[in-house]
Symmetry: C2
Subunit: 339 residues, 2 copies
């Protein structure tokens, strides 16, 4: 493998000159530049990433911390990963994917050893173990998901409160008076998935204000449990005319359940979900939904992270907490409540 020394020799110049010719950080005569570039081509030279990282303390790699937990729905995570990966590449960065169950260990490893210039944390919990480690690290970090304490990090998340209100208001406007909300598994909440509460509380408050009934349940993240739980819910509350689904697995299982019960949408039941359009297409879910915009969130997180890495915004400049406004994608699954 050719080194910059080989290039320099082939071009008849010193190593430093070759380096400057390639980086353009100092002026170089046209002739020398040509000879260096030629040598690069002839030798097939590519800089050694490790050496460059050592010299510049920049790796051009971003750490992506994603946990595939038993009680979460993996395909939903994939879209965040894609958003992050694509944006990173556009900006010239590669992605180090860390999927260890023990996220703290993984985070510590990649930051302490300086394998990455910054990190994106997915699926951030309210009191996330990884945050203290991230704050102690010398690299900047961007989060997808809202923790209790946002100091020292840039945060991006869907506005789940607004999402909860939107769902309730929409069905209230159509005349519904008894709704059910299907949330994530209780485990997710215990672990600190605050977004579940945020949506649920806002929905409950909106229901209270409107004077309508809202039954909330926690459902599993897997079949066949979640299917059974949906059945139980509909058995327990026969008066429910509208379903709010804040649980990807439940959304994916719903068509089968409704079919088994012979219920049509929106004739017998109105349904609004909370997932991405991509997700809806993948699972052919025919329900109107609040767009959760994973690609957009991933993109925003990386953009901001790179701005910090490249010093466009200093480490002391105030950190960002930005919420994406939920948008309702209409798939005609809501209507007037059945009589």
């Amino acid at each position: 493998m050719a080194t910059i020394g080989d290039v320099a020799r082939a071009a008849g110049v010193s190593r430093s000159t070759a380096s400057y010719a390639l980086s353009g950080k100092r002026s170089i005569s046209a002739d020398v530049r040509r000879r260096v570039e030629e040598a690069v081509r002839d030798l097939g030279y590519t800089p050694n990433a490790g050496a460059r990282a050592l010299a510049t303390s920049q790796t051009m790699v971003i750490g992506l911390l994603a946990q595939f937990l038993e009680d979460e729905f993996a395909p939903a995570m994939l879209q965040y990963i894609q958003g992050v990966a694509n944006t990173a590449r556009e900006l010239g960065y590669d992605i180090l994917l860390v999927t260890e169950v023990d996220g703290t260990r993984g985070l510590r490893r990649v930051t302490d050893s300086r394998m990455v210039d910054g990190v994106v944390l997915l699926n951030v919990a309210e009191h996330d173990d990884r945050l203290p480690i991230l704050r102690a690290a010398s690299q900047p970090g961007a989060l997808v998901g809202l923790p209790a304490d946002c100091t020292g990090v840039d945060v991006f998340d869907l506005d789940f409160e607004e999402a909860g209100r939107l769902m309730v208001d929409d069905l209230h406007r159509l005349g519904h008076r008894e709704l059910a909300l299907v949330s994530q598994p209780e485990h997710v909440i215990e672990r600190g998935g605050a977004y579940v509460w945020r949506l649920q509380n806002a929905a409950a408050e909106a229901a209270r204000v409107r004077g309508i009934t809202l039954h909330a349940i926690f459902a599993s993240a897997h079949q066949p449990d979640v299917g059974r739980e949906l059945h139980d819910l509909l058995d327990a509350h026969p008066g429910v005319t509208g379903l709010l689904i804040n649980n990807e697995a439940a959304a994916a299982a719903l068509p089968t359940v409704l079919h088994a019960r012979g219920l049509s949408v929106p004739g017998d039941l109105s349904v609004i979900g909370r997932y991405s359009d991509e997700f809806a297409r993948t699972f052919s879910l025919p329900y109107s939904s609040i767009e959760s915009a994973p690609d957009r969130l991933g993109r925003m997180a990386v953009r901001q992270l790179v701005r910090r890495i490249e010093g466009e915004v200093g480490p002391d400049e105030p950190h960002v907490v930005r919420f994406v406004s939920p948008e309702l994608v209409d798939r005609r699954s809501t209507g007037a409540p059945r009589r």
Copy 2:
């Protein structure tokens, strides 16, 4: 950030001694070892990955090349990624995830710049552009998917021929005489997804030998197209009593389609798919299926790759082409053909 020089100074020894004390590559007195370890703890020392990579020419990183193509079903890919990532971590390696659409560019970048010690290629096509680049690289590579030319790489794949035979034989044994096979989109085949042909040809041959009819179609990888195509298929061949599904999107869409047509499984139609158990659970697919074992394939690929990286098998030792035998997971979706 502490360097090994800081550790050495704190322990009152030279840098080389500190290094040997930590690596254990030379004998060190108990006293010195203790002092060095203490200094490491006190200073919170972690070796700099770039410096180590430069010195040892080992990065402890594996490149994972995964393309998310428009005409493939992303959630199916995720399981390979998980298998690879988990196994890599167990063996002490991190994962550099390269998702560029132009896989050749990404592969060249990570190998030429020596960011990785080896690479795993997912979703390998029959004549895969990435293979010439991989062969020219100085790092070893492991493939998931069977190319036409396997020289210089280790290859792992499901035995799709056997899978095709298994599907046909199973339904033949139950008395079926007219079957339909739903394959991947034609694009996938044109691009060289040979596994589609391998299964299809073997199934066709088995059908010929048994004297039964097999209709084969290519279906899309997305809703709602794939749903429509399944309807068309069933309309066009009313005599079909068994369905073979070698297309994840079609499998995911099938429950809805069958439901719409009022068909029950296996009463009206027997169904066998080809996907992983994990996939079946995620999409709650109630069909018997050939296990495609993505986690196992990912694991095998990484294991072998690491063996090459660490020199346990030399670069000249013969390369492996290993097929995983398909196993039928019975979910009671097959039975005698309807009258």
